[in-house]
Amino acid sequence: MIELLDINRIFQVGDQQVHALKDINLTIQNGEYLSIMGPSGSGKSTLLNIIGMLDQPDSGTYHLEGKEVTHLSDNEKSIIRSSQIGFIFQFFHLLPRLTAAENIALPMMLAGISPSERQKRTNKILALLDLTERAHHKPEQLSGGQRQRVAIGRATIMQPKVLLADEPTGNLDRHAGHEVIKILEQLNQQDITLIVVTHDPELGERAHRKIKFVDGAITIDTGTQS
């Protein structure tokens, strides 16, 4: 469960202060499927980064699974990011020098999991994502859809509770985008919390709970539809 209480985030841009997040209060239950929509600069990516603990709020508290995580040390945060949170980016962010399989295994390598265990889990995920034949290809030899599938594999390999996707289809054609969404939704059905930030209304509408963001504040929250 994610609980955000009075979260504020202010950026200094030149001599101007930009209030990216204004008193955000948001509770997300485990297994929810949530979309965050809004115009550029409305603060939706900032919110995602705070949930993913890549960014630090200026005020407010953040509880993850009932635990206060706002003031954890860098090391403790990295452990939580590693084990509980998966990121999916618009630009995939695969390492070009590593193969698809190595990219997927990267979080396990950082976590110090043994090579044999890594191999086992990577093979399983590759098969699940229909990438087995592409395992030893470098990202540049893969299509956009395949790259994003590799990125999904990488995000889920540590079996996180939360998947954070920032414009996951933003760089894909319709067909590939649809495929990616289907995979993400399947993961959500396995009880992973899925939070998608998007511009795309069609994608946003698919989520069970829809949040609209304007000027750093939540304007619409449909709540959980059962």
């Binding site: 090391n75 990295s78 990011r81 020098r97 976590a111």
Partner: protein, 401 residues
């Protein structure tokens, strides 16, 4: 992250950036190679000089006739000889317990001939202990027989070149060599090369001291070599020699004593300092290489900004990022140092080919320290870029794309 993962990860990154890798490798390699080559040259010079000196003998005091007024080796030759040194003088020096060996030297030149061949050769009159004092060895036969210094006998030991020139293929041992107007039976051939009293050992003929005195018709000794048992006893023996000579020469101090070891020690110190200095200068080039490492690592950090952000998002801690970039720097340093090691040793071999007399192999301490300094350079100059990488804001790093 395990060490093997870390190495593989860094290695892939290093391989990918060939140009920067090549630049850093060359810079470090040149630094390491120059340390190895320069210390090799310095050590070579030191070994050469020390070798020349120690071929003259160790723990050696050289007694010369005549008192040098100003001191120092050169003025000896200009000092007026008041009294000759005699074989009896030499024998009397043997009495001190710290004197191990004594060799008088009578010096002259004479015509040496065998059958039709003849040549002019330097003749040294000495005793059986000359062999040990000078660290010579024999190729054939034996050296002058031991016995009283005052005992004459018509035998000689010849240098290698004399043997070749006068006897060619014939075995000289047992042949009668004519020296001046006398005959001497050849009993041995010297194996040693090198120099003694500025003569090529291969070109000399050695006969008993008394025989030489008779041959040249003089009672005077050219000098007396005194070998002491230890280096520490040299001062005592020096005093003993002066006192003995004074009492034998009617209270006049008319001899000069040169200590070989004092001279040797000074040269050793000077040349070691010189080697250290030039290797220090060479080490500066490693610092330059270090700055290049830092530069290139900083460029790398900015090139890999996105990757750093990603690694953080995937659960890498600040510490891990720092370790990853340090590994990069240290791997580069090790590879560069290894390359430099081969370059340096190769360079030393090449110089040795050009100047075979110079044993310019680099001393172990310089090879080891060049290697360590290179790795430390990688650590020190890699630290700042690594810290910068670790402190990157992951959010900005990810949108950097």
């Amino acid at each position: 992250m395990s060490i093997s993962d870390l190495l593989r990860f860094s290695f892939a990154a290093i391989i990918r950036h060939r140009l920067r890798t090549a630049l850093v490798l060359i810079a470090i390699a040149i630094g390491v190679a120059s340390i190895i080559i320069l210390t090799g040259l310095g050590e070579g010079a030191r070994r050469f000089v020390l070798g020349e000196f120690s071929s003259l003998g160790t723990n050696l005091l050289i007694v010369l006739p005549g008192k040098s007024e100003t001191g120092g080796a050169m003025s000896v030759f200009s000092g007026a000889t008041t009294r000759d040194l005699t074989l009896q003088d030499a024998s009397s020096l043997k009495r001190h317990p710290q004197v191990r060996r004594i060799a008088p030297i009578v010096f002259g030149a004479a015509e040496a001939s065998w059958q039709q061949r003849s040549r002019e050769a330097p003749i040294i009159g000495s005793s059986s202990e000359m062999l040990s004092i000078r660290h010579w060895s024999l190729a054939q036969g034996r050296f002058l027989p031991p016995g009283e210094l005052t005992q004459a006998s018509a035998v000689c030991v010849i240098g290698k070149k004399i043997a070749e020139e006068l006897f060619a293929q014939t075995n000289p041992v047992g042949k009668n060599l004519r020296i001046g107007d006398r005959r001497f039976r050849v009993i041995g051939v010297l194996a040693s090369s090198g120099r003694t009293i500025d003569l090529d050992v291969q070109n000399i003929i050695i006969i008993p001291a008394v025989s030489a005195q008779n041959l040249f018709n003089t009672p005077a000794l050219f000098r007396i070599l005194v070998e002491t048992r230890t280096r520490d006893s040299q001062e005592k023996v020096k005093k003993f020699i002066i006192n003995t000579m004074k009492s034998r020469h009617q209270g006049e101090e008319d001899i000069t004593i040169i200590s070989q070891d004092a001279l040797l020690g000074t040269f050793d110190k000077i040349l070691t300092a010189l080697t250290l200095t030039i290797s220090g200068i060479a080490a500066i080039s490693l610092t330059v290489a270090g700055i290049l490492i830092m530069n290139i690592m900083l460029i790398t950090v900015s090139q890999r900004t996105t990757e750093i952000g990603l690694l953080k998002a995937l659960g890498a801690s600040r510490y891990q990022i720092q370790i990853i970039f340090m590994t990069d720097a240290v791997l580069l340093a090790i590879a560069g140092a290894t390359l430099g090691l081969f370059l340096g040793q190769g360079g030393n071999l090449f110089i040795h080919q050009l100047f075979p007399a110079l044993d310019n192999s680099a001393p172990t301490w310089s090879v080891v320290s060049a290697f360590l300094v290179a790795i430390c350079t990688g650590l020190i100059f890699g630290a700042m870029p690594a810290r910068r990488a670790a402190n990157l804001n992951p959010v900005q790093a990810l949108v950097h794309h």
